[in-house]
Amino acid sequence: MSETSYDIVIGLEIHVQLLTASKLFCGCSTKFGAPPNTQTCPVCTGMPGSLPVMNRRAFELGLRTALALNCQIAPFTKWDRKNYYYPDLPKGYQISQFDLPFSSEGWLEISDPKGKIEPRRIGIIRAHLEEDAGKSMHDEAAGQADSRIDLNRTGTPLLEIVSKPDMRSPAEAKAFLTELKLLLTYLEVSDCNMQEGSLRVDANVNLHIPTPDGKIATPIVEIKNMNSFRAVERALTYEAARQYEVWQETGQKIGDIPKQTRGWDDVANITRGQRHKEESSDYRYFPDPDLVPVTVTEATVADARAALGELPAALRTRLEATFGLTPYDSDVIVNQGKRGVEYFLELATHSGDGKLASNWFQQDVLRTLTEQKIEIDQFGLRPERLAGLLQKVRGKEIDTSRAREVFAAMATSQKSAAEVMAELGIVQVDESQLVELCRELLAANPKIVADIKEGRGKAAGALIGQAKKKNPNVNPGRLMEICLELAQGM
């Protein structure tokens, strides 16, 4: 069966924990990792008589994200109750937004610097706010069927982002998630930590299969339990193949069976059907009478829009236009986050050479960060100082390999490029000295001279090592040029 025999149709639902100090409807801390049930109060534990009060900050973060996703902002939005019973839901309902979400109809552009997927816009159906539930922990270690409930997470603000079913491959889904995560990081609205659950992804997927009777769609499956973007990609790949197989066996079309939920098993690399909790859930949504509707003025939207700052897509374009970087390079730099981009911009400006700055930033700075396991703002070699070194490289005062030595020394000290070079005795070698040195070397290596004369210019490379032994400051490029010229005349 060829790969093009069907289209994969993918929509994503992403839950993002917003970086507020306190919960969505009470003053409790949202910090991760505290001992169970220590970050609770009458409101988030659903104590009889308690009432929710909206956290303005959470709404602002939601608004900021929705604007960055090019969403329409509703001038009037309200809170609804989603009613269901579960032990981690102390009130017996979740406060969410049903028919009047605060934002809808947006898009996010995905692209691939390696050109594997076409750049295009993925539609956003809506983004709405809701409160998180708690965590159930099943304590079966002692052979007991006891469940324990931790309500620390209950009431943490979540932004639910629902995409349109616009993605056509697992790679596109991954690209969407990667771009979304980068955007959220730039907006500083979430730490996007999938391990701690601050970013959760569910995927809806089915196939459109062309048949002689027209295109048919397979039943939609929702996939849960994916703990990384890689897992999302693999789960979708697996699921598409599985659905095709099932379709070949059963011929089941969308609507023939109820929507299925399957969980991704990261070890076995398969999706498994999950037990249906109810045939079809009726959440009995209705407006929460404890909360007043929220009106969002145009001025509020304008202020939030103005405060967005430069976002990844715009930054990439700017880096490419200003410094002549390739899409690949601009992507690598923008992926480093706001601080990384700031570092690069200073380096490029002070050194006066964007491409050179891009190379040094990607190869040397990023490598050092990885080696030292630190973030860019912890890196002691600030861009202005590093730019001093890059200027010397540009001016051919130092060759790249010696410049790396200087970089290493600068990274562990507060010294300038000139200071380090002086310490290492790096001085520019005078041209006449260099010619003299070349003559000596060629005279001592007649075999190499012969090789050069026969057109094997590369042979001159062997002289670099010898030259460096005599004078470590020689510029290898210039040395080669002189040797080739002199050899031809011998």
């Binding site: 009458p42 009889p48 008589g49 308690s50 109750r81 019973y85 102390p90």
Partner: protein, 513 residues
């Protein structure tokens, strides 16, 4: 006059004048409770020791010339629906028999701040669902005027305690008439403030968009005093309105010449008891003699009030009461027995090789939920949860809940229209005086109709007060209801005060055996 006949305002004057101490007054109330409450049964709990401690502390403050709050050491009773830190708050339900809130409702905190002595917890219909106080899971409260009759509900204990002279001031809640109705049937004064006037934080919700806390006292002046203490914006309740709290007592004496009193045509139709009509019409004549102008008005959608109320209130209740699932709050069924039964049922199905049956067995969790709620809730609460769950279900939502919301808007518009012509609306509180205990027990529909004249105020969010305006031939009190636009409590209380200055129905007390 004995202290039991004095109003809260009069007692506060005596306390502040040093004519009586808070401890003496608290003791007098405790004595009276001791003497009569085994028959009236207004209290679910009397905190004698704690009340005396609070009273002594306030007396001490006064002795040391420290400032004393506006309630001056007055004993106050609380409907057992308002959370009080460390004090069992049952809501009249078996479900919350052992529930001790770790926090104070905002009104409780304000009462404490005002130097009230919190003396006891008053009986109610379970979760405030009922109009007779017969739905309490513990016992029905009796009407002090006739112990065979209901005191009205749901704040029956709060009304009966004041009527029997056991307490000068109590708090209740009003969702569809639960303050005004028992006030009317017990011959005391009861105020339902406008929605948003008093914080609901700590009021165990029945129907959030309708619930409101209010006071019972002997007079409108008592209610004004209490409202000054409990009203005001609360950052913990986003539906509480940020409007300043006027000096309601000072406003009582505002001149009301030319007061326009709206008489609702629809209130005097079929079903209104002749004695009640006579008493209400007599009260209207009193107003006329005091210079008020009676204006004939119409509230055309008021007739849908009860129907709308019995959709909206149960819908909200079905969700508000979901938290009593045995997992976090409320009674939990005997889990051992539940697990045992589940194991037995499973064994039987397994022995029969009944795979289908096994697949359909509910999980232990679902069984726990079901049994806990079945055991913890009473019949009326279950009825309303079912009504609300049904009305909110997919396919019914538009026809019931949404339509009810639309009619609610029409009812509100009727009032807006009416209040363009009149200052206050006057009419009966209930169609008849108190009925006999058990009389309507098998007829929930006729029970629901006791709210006929009161529900629309809750649906519209306006203020209402019930003042005594007569005694029936069989010796039962009759109430007059006054209604004012939202946040029109000043005029409402002044209107009630005006009437009470000219009459003495509010001074009549039942002869307790």
């Amino acid at each position: 006059m004995s202290v039991h006949e004095l109003s809260a305002s009069e007692l506060i004057a005596q306390l502040n004048a040093g004519e009586i101490t808070s401890t003496e007054l608290t003791r007098a109330c405790l004595d009276r409770i001791e003497r009569y409450d085994d028959r009236v049964q207004a209290f679910l709990q009397v905190g004698a020791e704690s009340a005396l401690e609070q009273a002594q502390a306030i007396d001490q403050k006064r002795k040391q010339k420290q400032p004393v709050g506006p309630l001056a050491g007055l004993p106050v009773g609380i409907k057992d629906l308002l959370c009080t830190q460390g004090v069992v708050t049952t809501c009249g339900s078996k479900m919350l028999e052992h529930f001790r809130p770790p926090y104070d409702a905002t009104v409780i905190a304000r009462l404490k701040q005002a130097d009230a002595v919190l003396l006891g917890r008053l009986n109610l219909d379970e979760f405030a669902m009922g109009g007779s106080c017969e739905n309490s899971a513990y016992f029905p409260t009796r009407n002090p005027w006739d112990l065979e009759r209901i005191p009205g509900g749901s704040s029956g204990g709060s009304a009966a305690a004041v009527a029997a002279g056991m307490l000068p001031l109590t708090l209740g809640t009003d969702t569809g008439g639960s303050i005004r109705l028992p006030a009317g049937l017990c011959g005391v004064t009861g105020l339902k403030p406008s929605y948003g006037r008093v914080s609901r934080y700590g009021l165990v919700a029945f129907a959030s968009s309708l619930d409101q806390i209010g006071p019972f006292g002997q007079t409108a002046e008592d209610c004004a005093l209490a409202l000054e203490v409990i009203a005001g914006h609360d950052p913990h309740d986003s539906t509480s309105v940020a409007q300043p709290v006027p000096a309601y007592r000072a406003a009582l004496r505002q001149p009301l010449e030319g007061l326009r009193l709206g008489i609702v045509r629809e209130h005097f139709g079929e079903g209104l008891d002749a004695e009640v009509e006579k008493a209400v019409r007599e009260a209207l004549r009193v107003y006329e003699s005091l210079g008020a102008k009676l204006v004939d008005i119409s509230l055309p959608h008021a007739k849908y009030g009860v129907a709308v109320y019995y959709l909206i209130a149960p819908c909200e209740a079905s969700s508000n009461l979901a938290r009593y699932d045995g997992a976090h709050y409320g009674h939990r069924t005997d889990e051992k027995a539940m697990h045992k039964q589940l194991a037995e049922e499973r064994a039987v199905l397994q022995a029969a090789g009944n795979e289908r049956g096994l697949g359909q067995l509910d999980s232990a969790l679902v069984r726990m939920y079901r049994a806990s709620r079945a055991e913890g809730f009473g019949a009326e609460v279950k009825r309303r949860i079912m009504l609300g769950t049904y009305a909110l279900s997919a396919g019914y939502y538009d026809a019931y809940y949404l339509k009810a919301l639309r009619v609610r808007r029409l009812i509100r518009q009727d009032f807006d229209e009416a209040f363009r012509q009149v200052d206050l609306i006057a009419g009966p509180v209930s169609a008849a005086p108190a009925f006999r205990i058990g009389e309507k027990a098998d007829d929930p529909l006729s029970m629901y109709l006791v709210d006929l004249y009161t529900v629309s105020a809750n649906l519209a969010g306006i203020a209402g007060i019930s003042v005594p305006c007569g005694i029936s031939q069989s010796g039962l009190p009759i109430g007059l209801q006054l209604q004012a636009p939202a946040f029109g409590e000043e005029k409402l209380l002044a209107g009630a005060h005006l009437y009470q200055q000219a009459t003495d129905w509010h001074r009549r007390r039942p002869q307790l055996p």
